[in-house]
Subunit: 335 residues, 2 copies
């Protein structure tokens, strides 16, 4: 029934259509080069709430509400929503979605969540299980810092390899018919762990997973980087992106200039002093649901390969001496 | 193509077959009335590892390996695995699955995870996206205690409404053909929050979600509790089960003796001093993947409604004064 291209890749006979999309960001995102593509930007890191965790939930509420509004749909029109975030027990999502009453499948894919939610959402739509489904995620600099690193007021120094967790949320509404960019191929990633233990160098930890998934996707579909207007990893940053390009170069594949990383697009890295670039679930989610899908609708991009990456660690696993497993899910999106 | 029964329920035209299943447990589970149905029981709460978190990963490795072995399959024979757990960033799962190389969709559904993984897994199989998929989860008393409550050696007193987190893991292998119990109907739950703030009374917090999902399932399928040999919620315990029965009684529906809760089956509550019963992702997972599916294969049960429940809180959300949102996913399983 479906066109399965090997073990981890499916070409959708009935591609899911991205009916609408919305991106929400904070102050740094508003000062970056993609600011004009956001639907909502807030200078208040609390988004009117009393805690940063509640602010993250508020961002998901805003992103979902904006995406529904742009598609002229109500919450009742969604059969499912698939979402998750970085917070312990994904509370950004559960409290953000609590009042919408939409059947909910909760995900944990770390910073690959936008890819995972779009992948499973498009399979549910393509399989005839849903007419419409939402896919969403978020991250918040302040909630991530205090959970993974140090309390923000401590002002700890950042290493050159560190990335800046985006304060952002992205939401896309998928449908089984309609106008808009279509998700045509889905590749599910495997957990890949090459033994990187530096929790301040997530790009290096996730790069092997990105390489593994992109290679599987290219192989299953018989395509290469030149077949896409853009190939985008999620949040590898400057170092991780170079590692992926180096891996492919060793295979004789030139990833070229069409290979970019969302973590290098969201901020002006030099001017905003962002070290290795942006990271967090909200990075690839807001770059996709703001800039990229907007460029596709304006026909400036016709076919992209979107491949968000996640690091499946926790502070506890690092304290216990574990390395950082990575994962990456990839989707072909065509206009 | 699929038989969608309203917004949140799907009747599968090509039901997913449960090809094999395995349950792993610890000391308390081995002393309970279902001990003979476990595939592996360990008196060592560390399962040979140095930390309880690594022990939880070891339990998932064991459950998956046993389930694969019983189906005479290798890891390479699975197209996907869907799994998650209660630990921050789901590290029980990511480190447990790291070495298997199976395409992975990570889930967070708290103690509803066995239901969520079977639901999404059976949709992927029924939709033609996978020939075989794994569904798995785990919990560990000691990792849950120190994450959600108190360090275990502190020996804090437990309230009468408290439940005991199961040290257990369950894994089921789904296929698009073969012999075994079949998943025929899937109902996806909504987040329901009735304002319960007592983190020591999870049964009461999750009961409204269980009622909401069971009611939706009965309504969409035109069935009632008498149409099933057993209706099983996940881990509501003594109090939560009674609340669900009371809700239905107010609607004029007698849930009767066929309605049970996995949290009341796993332990001898009186003899083992388990207060309100068992809880944790591993509770419903091991009761299903040990006892229940075994009883179905032995033809002692022909049709059950399995409805695991999850509490979508975190210690942080409780510290910030939030109530406890619940969710419940339900599956009809027939022999």
């Amino acid at each position: 029934m479906q066109h399965r291209l090997g073990r981890q890749t499916v070409a959708l006979e009935n591609p899911a259509v991205i009916l609408s999309h919305a991106a929400v960001g904070g102050r740094q995102e508003g000062e970056g080069p993609l600011s004009e593509y956001f639907d909502h930007l807030s200078g208040d890191s609390f988004f009117g709430e009393k805690t940063w965790e509640k602010a993250e939930s508020a961002m998901q509420k805003l992103a979902l509400s904006k995406a529904l509004e742009k598609a002229n749909l109500a919450a009742e029109d969604l059969d499912y929503i698939l979402a998750g975030d970085l917070l312990n027990q994904c509370i950004g999502t559960s409290f953000g979605l609590r009042d919408f009453g939409i059947p909910f499948y909760g995900l944990y894919g770390a910073c690959s969540t936008m890819g995972e939610s779009l992948a499973l959402g498009s399979l549910l739509v393509a399989g005839g299980f849903a007419k419409r489904a939402g896919a969403m995620t978020s991250s918040h600099f302040c909630t991530a810092e205090r959970q993974y690193r140090m309390p923000v007021p401590y002002g700890s120094q950042r290493t050159p390899t560190a990335q800046w967790t985006a304060t952002a949320s992205g939401c896309a509404i998928l449908g089984d018919e309609g106008q808009g960019p279509r998700i045509t191929v889905v590749t599910c990633g495997k957990i890949v762990d090459k033994g990187v233990t530096d929790a301040n160098n997530m790009g290096a930890a996730m790069a092997p997973a990105a390489y593994d998934t992109l290679r599987a996707h290219f192989s299953a579909t018989g395509t290469g980087p030149k077949d896409y207007d853009l190939v985008l990893t999620g949040d590898l940053g400057v170092l991780g992106r170079q590692i992926v390009a180096d891996f492919f170069a060793a295979d004789g594949v030139d990833m070229g200039e069409t290979y970019q990383d969302c973590g290098m697009l969201l901020y002006d890295i030099q001017k905003q002093d962002m070290h290795a670039g942006a990271s967090g679930c909200g990075c690839s989610a807001s770059v996709l649901c703001g800039y990229l899908l907007g460029q596709m609708e304006a026909r400036h991009l016709k076919k992209i390969l979107f491949a968000p990456t996640g690091a499946l660690l926790s502070p506890t696993s690092s304290f216990q001496g574990e390395s950082v497993p990575g994962i990456c899910h990839a989707l072909t999106i065509e206009m």
